[in-house]
């Protein structure tokens, strides 16, 4: 059976798919927020001199980086309710989006932690010493001297992590969330898959354009932020 492709129809699908954009953005922003919070906690642990904290953080990072996000989604979405059920907790009220946000936050937090650790260590230790020498307390030195420099170092990696996270939001369709990819699938199914090539090309274009914007935004912000200064790594 021959197929007829109608490439001219591709632009028309873009606005239809984009109707699901708010869902994708919601997943992206919530996952970003939580992954940064978890990542920061893990970073504190991985930099700590306490051996137990250190081992837990390193183990967490290693596990989360090693497990495919899709496996994590299936584990949490399918496995966790079963386990919780057996101890008498009903998880049927938890939304699918919440599961996806949890999974993406966990898996991305490992990358975020590695990013923060590297950025923190990239700031010359003389900067902290200078802050101490003028009489600053540890937290003040961190807030005013160390963090702003570490942030500058982290911007490119942060941009990269956000792009990866954005692409991973497409995994939400596997549990039936109508995100960008979920919407594309729905459109395609509604016409029994006859237009699936065009729909998925449109989806790919949407992802690519947004990633392109994010990438350049990250470069622009880095340039603005570090203008006039030397990078913290010297």
């Amino acid at each position: 059976m021959g197929h007829t492709y109608d490439f001219k129809s591709i632009p028309g699908y873009i606005p239809k798919i984009m109707k699901a954009f708010p869902v994708t953005i919601e997943i992206l922003l919530l996952s970003l927020l939580f992954s940064i919070i978890i990542g920061a906690i893990v970073t504190v642990g991985s930099l700590s001199k306490n051996k137990v904290c250190n081992a837990i953080s390193k183990g967490y990072i290693s596990f989360m980086r090693g497990i495919p996000t899709l496996v994590l989604i299936f584990l949490l979405y399918l496995g966790l309710p079963q386990v919780m059920n057996s101890i008498g907790v009903d998880m049927s009220g938890v939304s699918k989006v919440a599961y996806i946000v949890a999974c993406l936050s966990l898996s991305t937090s490992a990358n975020m932690a590695e990013m923060m650790r590297a950025a923190y260590l990239a700031v010359d230790k003389g900067q902290r010493e200078a802050a101490f020498s003028v009489g600053m307390k540890g937290f003040t030195a961190f807030r005013r001297i160390i963090f702003p420099q570490a942030f500058g170092v982290a911007i490119p990696t942060l941009g990269n992590n956000i792009i990866m996270l954005f692409k991973e939001t497409s995994l939400a369709f596997t549990v039936g969330v109508i995100d960008l990819l979920g919407k594309a699938r729905a459109i395609s199914s509604a016409s029994y898959g006859t237009n699936r090539l065009e729909v998925y090309i449109a989806t790919g274009i949407i992802f690519w354009i947004i990633c392109f914007v994010l990438e350049n935004l990250s470069k622009f912000i880095e340039k603005q932020y570090t203008r006039g200064r030397k990078k913290a790594t010297s």
Binding site: D124, G126, Q127, E129, A130, A131, F132, S133, V134, G135, M136, K137, G138, T140, R144, I145, P148, Q149, G152, G228, R229, K230, A232, S234
Partner: protein
């Protein structure tokens, strides 16, 4: 008040490496003490134990009658001690994320709780004194080493500390920039502030120091007036060091 800075029996090890082996030192108000010694003698470490950038393992540090025991000290004690001192670093260590003006203002705003406008006014004045009036809005990386170090000196001076610690302030500079920084330090010395300077600049020591301390192997070998120590040292180790530093060729011949 007897002494501005008093160090008692300072011991410091890094791992198995015993760097400072019981150093005592008393420095009066207004004294300019220059510490000389071969590398590895512990002079920089000694300086860093004074403001607890490296906490000594044993002994005590007093600055302006405020004494901190090196073995048991609280964070707030260390901060109070540091606020009586200021430091000028070998690598300048200016805050890279701040302009020269902000570098100088930083301590006033965060530690001394100055209003921003007041802090800016006095910071500009002091930067003009070290010849950086035109460079206030530059970032450290846009300045030469000599300019950065003069800004570092301004950052230390503005805090009006009881003692300024200079850690090899000219060692990282290009030779032609050493002069401008030494001149700035000389001008600071003339204001009567207490200073401890670790340096290799013998000529500078001769001119500025009120006392020269020679260290080797983690102890003070000899100390006294610059004309005594630098011209007619009693200890053979001091003599050897001065020969080597003032005339490198002679030292080579001696070892050959």
């Amino acid at each position: 008040m007897a002494n501005m800075v008093e160090l008692k029996n300072i011991h410091k090890s890094f791992g198995d490496n015993h760097i400072l082996k019981g150093v005592d030192m008393s420095i009066k108000k207004g004294e300019v003490v220059v510490i000389l010694g071969p590398s590895g003698s512990g002079k920089t470490t000694l300086l860093r134990t004074i403001n607890f950038l490296d906490a000594a393992d044993e002994g005590s540090v007093s600055v302006h009658d405020f004494t901190v025991d090196c073995k048991k000290h609280s964070k707030s004690q260390v901060i109070e001690l540091r606020r009586k001192t200021a430091m000028v670093f070998q690598n300048y260590n200016l805050f890279q994320n701040k302009t020269i003006l902000e570098n100088v203002m930083e301590g006033l705003v965060t530690v001394k709780k100055f209003k921003k406008s007041d802090a800016e006014k006095v910071s500009r004045e002091i930067l003009a004194k070290v010849g950086l009036a035109e460079r206030c809005d530059f970032y450290p990386s846009q300045l030469s080493g000599g300019q950065q170090q003069r800004a570092g000196i301004a950052r230390a001076l503005i805090l009006d500390p009881d003692v300024i610690l200079f850690d090899e302030p000219t060692s990282a500079l290009d030779p032609e920039l050493v002069g401008e920084v030494l001149n700035t330090i000389k001008a600071v010395a003339q204001t009567g502030i207490t200073m401890i300077v670790v340096t290799h600049e013998i000529a500078f020591a001769k001119e500025v120091a009120s006392r020269v301390v020679f260290m080797e192997g983690g102890v003070v070998v000899e100390e006294g007036k610059p004309e005594e120590i630098l011209v007619a040292p009693k200890e053979p180790r001091t003599q050897q060091f001065l020969r080597r530093i003032t005339n490198p060729n002679a030292a080579e011949e001696a070892t050959a």
